[in-house]
């Protein structure tokens, strides 16, 4: 079959809603878009573990301690599952797991803006679980229909676990909202700090050329703005029902357009944070990842040379 014919029959499968599998023929552009998206997703899960990791040792009850430990573990697990998907996709391009991980601290792969931000208080940790995971679910659920089979399957498992995370976050938030004045105040402060990041999380309003191509291949099916609107639909009423004030006086639902009007986040500031790792915690967390990876290469080598799988013993 000529390349052209292969491409035509590939697109035919995409249009028919078939799932593409790892060993199927695929256009190099499709492969590269998948790698870009899933690598960023994997790394976001891993780097997303850090803001909460900082609060694991300080969780204020035994129940919360267990819950936040389980949650951070899940995020690392998501990262692991996704990395495997990327590993398979990038093997034909000669890239290894080692590189996929070291790309993080070499600044060769981006991760979500929210994970560059500081988790300053326990309330921040709660808001992360509630709203950041809430935003992530909306994003991930929209990808369940993706044309790439292995990604769709991993997403299914991730989404199931994410809904527990949201409950975990919501539980923390409810306790604070119904708590003392100081607890309620810290919750409001946390919301004020995270709001803009949460809006930015879904990405720019305009459909970029890469996003357009991803939609062409049905890697993703919804635009950034559609997802952001979904987030607002779901969370604005919930936030308000807790008696919290959203730090955007212009926020309102436009009945005629059936859309939320909101104060746009500072696109420039946040894209700098993401593309140049210039967030308040970017450097510190990337350094942590670098240390974990580079300083312990001897451990991985010791394991490889002796080839007994450790994790399978568990």
């Amino acid at each position: 079959m000529t390349e052209e014919k292969q491409y035509a029959s590939f697109m035919e499968r995409i249009r028919a809603g078939e799932k593409i599998e790892a060993t199927d023929w695929m256009p190099i552009e499709y492969r590269k878009l998948l790698i870009k998206l899933i690598h960023m997703h994997a790394v976001s899960e891993i780097m997303g573990a850090y803001p909460e990791k900082e609060w694991v040792p300080r969780a204020p009850s035994l129940r919360r301690k267990l819950a936040i430990m389980a949650k951070v573990q899940d995020e690392m697990g998501h990262g692991q599952l996704l990395l495997r998907v990327v590993e398979d996709l990038s093997a034909p391009l000669g890239r290894t797991r080692e590189e996929l991980v070291s790309d993080i601290y070499h600044g060769k792969v981006k991760f979500h803006n929210v994970f560059h931000m500081e988790a300053r208080t326990w309330a921040d940790a709660g808001v992360i679980g509630w709203l950041v995971d809430g935003a992530a679910i909306i994003n991930q659920a929209s990808l369940l229909e993706t044309s790439y089979g292995p990604y769709a399957r991993v997403l299914k498992r991730i989404c199931a676990e994410e809904s527990f995370h949201m409950q975990h976050g919501e539980n923390i938030i409810l306790a604070l909202a119904m708590g003392t004045d100081a607890q309620r105040q810290s919750l409001q402060t946390a919301l004020d700090y995270w709001w803009e990041s949460l809006l930015f999380f879904f990405g720019p309003q305009e459909v970029t050329p890469a996003a357009k191509q991803m939609m062409h291949y049905q890697i993703r099916l919804k635009t950034n703005e559609e997802l952001r609107q979904k987030f607002l639909d779901k969370y604005v009423p919930r936030i308000q029902s807790l008696g919290l004030t959203i730090p955007d006086l212009s926020l309102r639902y436009d009945d005629s357009q059936k859309k939320w009007r909101y104060q746009a986040p500072d696109w420039h500031k946040f894209s700098q944070i993401v593309t140049q790792n210039k967030g308040p915690k970017s450097e510190e967390r990337m350094l942590l990842r670098k240390k974990a990876h580079e300083d312990q290469q001897w451990v991985r080598e010791a394991m490889r040379n002796h080839n007994i799988s450790i994790s399978s013993a568990l």
Binding site: I46, A49, Y50, K53, V56, P57, R58, A59, P60, S61, L62, R63, R64, K65, L66, M69, A70, V72, Q73, M76, G77, G79, Q80, L83, V101, W122, I172, A175, L176, M178, G179, T180, A182, Q183, L288, R289, K291, A292, Q296, W298, V299, R300, E301, A302, M303, N305, H306, I308, I310, S311, A313, L314
Partner: protein, 258 residues
């Protein structure tokens, strides 16, 4: 001979539960400090699941204590002064490197398995039930740690060198696990436990000697005498720092619900 109304029975039961609870919570806490920092992502996921088991076990013991009239479990975990902690020193030490954390965990899990087995027929029934469930989980922890130990020992090079250093650093703390701070005779008399500390240590040594051999590691010899006994409330600065961190949020408003 379960005589919960006997004052001394109650006293030693409570003391013993503190020893077990505090061991577990601190070990789980130290494990959890590894989150996001393990040598690979797979290791991270596995180690974290072990950490959760440990904190879960601690919670079980604190609940038993609460049922026996001690303070609320969260207050015991987050609001207690260092001098009240009854854990052995081994579990409060800072994590150091991977070989240290793995070996510490191995040493402790082996001890814990022996202690739990010696309690399978404990005269205090609520404890007996919990112990049987925990033994199953601990079996997998021990298997995991033994596998790591063998790998690191046989690998040669840096890994084995570091493992050797870790063992040496841990050695003075081994004896502390087997201290029961003076309640050991009563524990036996009340049939709360079936073995003497010496019997437990002999079992521990036999298991570990076999493992050391499989891992090509040499046995460091006698255990040094204890200098400080954590089970008597004698602790290092590392515990104080840990407790400050662990209680930070809780103590910002101890009466609040979190």
């Amino acid at each position: 001979m379960n005589n919960i109304n006997d004052l001394r029975y109650r006293e030693v039961l409570i003391e013993c539960l503190y020893q077990m609870a505090d061991d577990k919570l601190l070990l789980g806490h130290r494990d959890s400090e590894w989150l996001g920092c393990c040598p690979d992502i797979e290791g991270d996921v596995a180690f974290s699941s072990i950490a959760q088991d440990e904190v879960g076990h601690a919670t079980f013991y604190y609940q038993l204590l609460h049922q026996l009239g001690e303070d609320d479990p969260d207050r015991l975990a987050f609001g207690r002064d260092a001098s009240k902690w009854r854990n052995c020193m081994l579990v409060e030490r800072e994590n150091d490197d991977w070989t240290y954390s793995i070996t510490r965990h191995l040493f402790f899990d082996q001890f814990d398995q022996i202690r739990l087995q010696a309690m399978c027929t404990s005269s205090y029934e609520p404890l007996q039930h919990g112990v049987k469930k925990m033994i199953r989980e601990e079996y997998y922890h021990l298997l995991h740690m033994k596998t790591w130990f063998k790998q690191l020992g046989r690998a040669g090079g840096v890994a084995t060198q570091k493992l050797q250093q870790a063992i040496e650093k841990l050695w003075p703390d081994v004896n502390g696990m087997f201290s029961f701070a003076g309640i050991e005779e009563d524990l036996l008399r009340f049939e709360l436990i079936q073995l003497t500390p010496t019997e437990m240590r002999v079992k521990w040594e036999a298991e570990m000697k076999a493992l050391f051999q499989q891992a090509n590691m040499s046995w460091p010899g006698e255990f040094p005498q204890l200098k400080h006994d954590g089970r008597k409330g004698e602790h290092s600065a590392a515990l104080k720092t840990l407790l400050l961190t662990m209680g930070e949020v809780y103590q910002s408003e101890p009466s609040a619900k979190w």
